[in-house]
Symmetry: C2
Subunit: 472 residues, 2 copies
């Protein structure tokens, strides 16, 4: 078996060329800083990718001090992954070059394929055919690329504008570039990512492939997917059921109306299928469905850094009585119930201050008294109540800095099966941003609205039940 | 009729002493900077209140260079409004002093009344009785106060931390202090407020009184209320129906579960009543109900600065195809429908660039081509389509600064009956914050999630129908 044949064999069903390549070729446009080859190059440098990077473009000799090769065939060493950012019509011949070179994976950033017209669809089919014969896997076309925070492997085709994403347990996949780091302030959010993948038109690598890969990825703890369509429903559910024994899967499936179903077709060429059938299949498999992009983005945060609850009995700690009550409504609508505290817990709370007794426990009346707010003692008292399975906690980002809350939270001995979520509000955006960032960076799921913070706990309870059912 | 008797008569049913006082006495604690009398004093100074301010506390002669009087009776001139921040037990005798002085309104910031226990309830009743005999209206107790941006009249009992709120059309009222400027970054949001009122325990001034006052307030265009209970449902609906002919009313009514209903009682002593009865009465009257604090806070923004739509046909302008489709789902679920563009409009769009044709119109493919994004031309083309009643527009806060968007939007000639809402996303929080602030300050309703941006248009369509029905 030649080296090329061995590589070909290894490629089938293996997505490592996309997320763990040792060498990358960037093929195509080098004319702009903020899009295309130069952007990919700068992003890879900024994020600290340590593999080899080759630039390919017949019109240049050198860009940013980096040598440019006329074709990928001219690169002297092996190339694991090619990122193509050319016009669509050039892609087939470039893929042929890649096949000849023994490339294992190709990300096609270019658009103008199946999402455009029949001609584009034919072009896309041609590309797929060439790649398949060569045993090359493709992500895209019409994708903004992938991210692997473990290696600084960032193939975003737009200049990102920041230089790191916290390593964390969330894997995102979507049929839209809007989950990419060029679109979302992951760094400013203190948001921990393992992998990102924009499927684009999904001509080859699909949701089932990625799910299989993420199942084995030790860095991924929760998988969040935006799917405009599913290529092979049976296969997907089969893989999903296996994954769900260990990792939660959250899915946002657009196409809930006739009008959006129609629009899907022209976006990524996806046939939406029957929404009701999807929904009931997801439910049966144990996949958690979310209804908005905001939820898809924010709910995984809790899964990635907090333990699953044993039950649905919620303790609420607030610093504004009104919010505590509103949170009861959103929590019960998410499947939680208000915990009835043990007498011993209320006695503990009463010793800290009489107005703290009860659930919600309200620190509000203590603010006017001055002195340090006993957040830590209150959280610990309620967290250790046998009748409490999870906690929603309201933080006031007013006069108190991020350090104050971080110190308190780090000092708490958190039982291994009691998740907490947080909502931060305050009079200055800067103060709220800072608390969200610091707490996020330290593994606390912080939200900017109480609805999502309580929904996240509801979703964790939902998955805890599913997991129990699947594992037994 | 003595001057005092004349003032007493004028006070009944008139809330101007709370929002338009010419003189204010701050009675009580002066020991802390960030809460109590000193905080109220500094807030009033910071927000530019130009009326007279008197400090009252028997233990001080002077604070922050301001003379302190032992009792309100010692103040040489008339006092319109008293703000009391003492312990609860001192309040009755202070209210007696206020009655003697001829004060017209009292805000009781102190807690420890009906929300606490039976003793507190009795104390509250005693205070109400004294005030009623003297013709004094009370807001509170257990309130963080009021705001009137027209005069810099800010009675928040906590130090706010910023020094202005944009004047605008939104009036907020709640039975929680969380709508106050000490809790929310109105300035950083570019959020336009007319009046804010925290009812607290609502011992006297209630939702019907305030609704009546706001109906006549020329600065208020939309009224948003968080109501834990309604004191006199019949009266409230009567006033509401009158107001609704001119101004929309949005209400968040907590107490959707047994558990939250129970919690309401201990928060502000509110009997929640039957939620279903409230809901159907609100609906019948034409009040718009919202289901979360986030919606109560964010949906009024569109009402305050955009015209009401004539119909529910939505045009979507996006820079990410995936988001455009997700927005169709959230929009149709909010009562909107996707507009079918005229052939002429699609021809206009095609001339700008062929990929722009259709609804949603997607600017995404143009980003990679470089050059200035034709947001202005696309918005204008769709805005002038007779089949379009309202527009949802996605802005990318990436490489483009706030000025770019502001210039474009300011140049657009907006038909008088077509509202627009915006969603901004981007890779840096700072960039997104800046666009939100600048657009907000210039009267464009900007959102940080697409769901709320489309829900706001749905709510405006809902109110447009209600208004039509009520006015005819």
């Amino acid at each position: 078996m030649t080296e090329k044949e061995a590589r070909k064999l290894k490629s089938i069903g293996d997505l490592s060329p996309f997320f763990e390549p040792e060498s990358v070729a960037i093929i195509g446009s080098l004319s702009q800083i903020w899009f295309g080859g130069q952007a990919v190059l700068k992003n890879l440098h900024d994020f600290g990718y340590s593999g080899k990077i080759y630039l390919i473009n017949p019109s240049y000799d050198e860009v940013q001090g980096v040598r440019v090769y006329p074709t990928i065939r001219d690169v002297p060493e092996t190339v694991d992954l090619a990122i193509i950012v050319t016009a669509a019509r050039q892609v087939p011949s470039i893929v042929k070059d890649c096949a000849e070179k023994g490339v294992r994976g190709i990300i096609i950033g270019a658009d103008g394929f199946a999402e455009k017209d029949r001609e584009g669809t034919e072009l896309q089919n041609e590309v797929v055919e060439i790649a398949r014969r060569a045993g090359i896997r493709i992500i895209g076309p019409n994708t903004v690329g992938t991210v692997n925070t473990a290696t600084g492997m960032v193939t975003a085709t737009y200049l990102i504008g920041y230089d790191k994403i916290k390593k964390g347990g969330i894997a995102f996949a979507a049929q839209t570039g809007i989950i990419g780091p060029q679109a979302l302030p992951y760094e400013d959010w203190g948001y921990g990512i393992s992998k990102i993948c924009d499927f684009g038109n999904k001509c080859d690598v699909d949701e089932s492939d990625l799910l299989g890969y993420l199942a084995e990825d030790p860095d991924t703890k929760v998988i969040a997917m935006h799917l405009e369509g599913i290529r092979d429903g049976r296969r997907f559910l089969e893989v999903a059921k296996r994954v769900l024994r260990e990792k939660p899967i959250l899915i946002l499936k657009p196409g809930r109306s006739k009008e959006s179903t129609k629009a899907l077709l022209s976006h990524t060429g996806s046939m939406a299928g029957d929404q009701k059938i999807y929904e009931s299949a997801f439910k049966q498999a144990g996949i958690i469905q979310v209804n908005s992009f905001k939820e898809l983005l924010e709910i995984p945060r809790s899964f990635s850094c907090q333990p699953l609850p044993r039950g649905n009995r919620l303790g609420i700690i607030t610093i504004t009585g009104g919010a505590g009550i509103m949170a009861i409504d959103t929590a019960t609508e998410s499947g939680l119930t208000l915990a009835k505290l043990y007498t011993e817990t209320n006695e503990k709370l009463s010793k800290i201050h009489p107005t703290l007794v009860g659930n919600p426990s309200d620190l509000g009346p203590l603010v006017a008294l001055g002195g340090e707010l006993p957040y830590g003692e209150v959280i610990e008292a309620i967290l250790n109540d046998e009748n409490v399975d999870c906690i929603f906690c309201v933080l006031y980002g007013g006069l108190l800095p991020a350090d104050f809350y971080l110190q308190i939270l780090n000092d708490i001995k958190n039982p291994e099966d009691k998740p907490m979520t947080f909502w931060v509000y305050g009079p200055r955006l800067e103060g709220v941003d800072q608390i969200c960032l610091e707490l996020g960076n330290n593994g606390y799921p912080v939200y900017r609205d109480m609805e999502t913070a309580t929904k996240a706990l509801g979703a964790m309870y939902q998955y805890a039940k599913i997991k129990k059912r699947l594992v037994i």
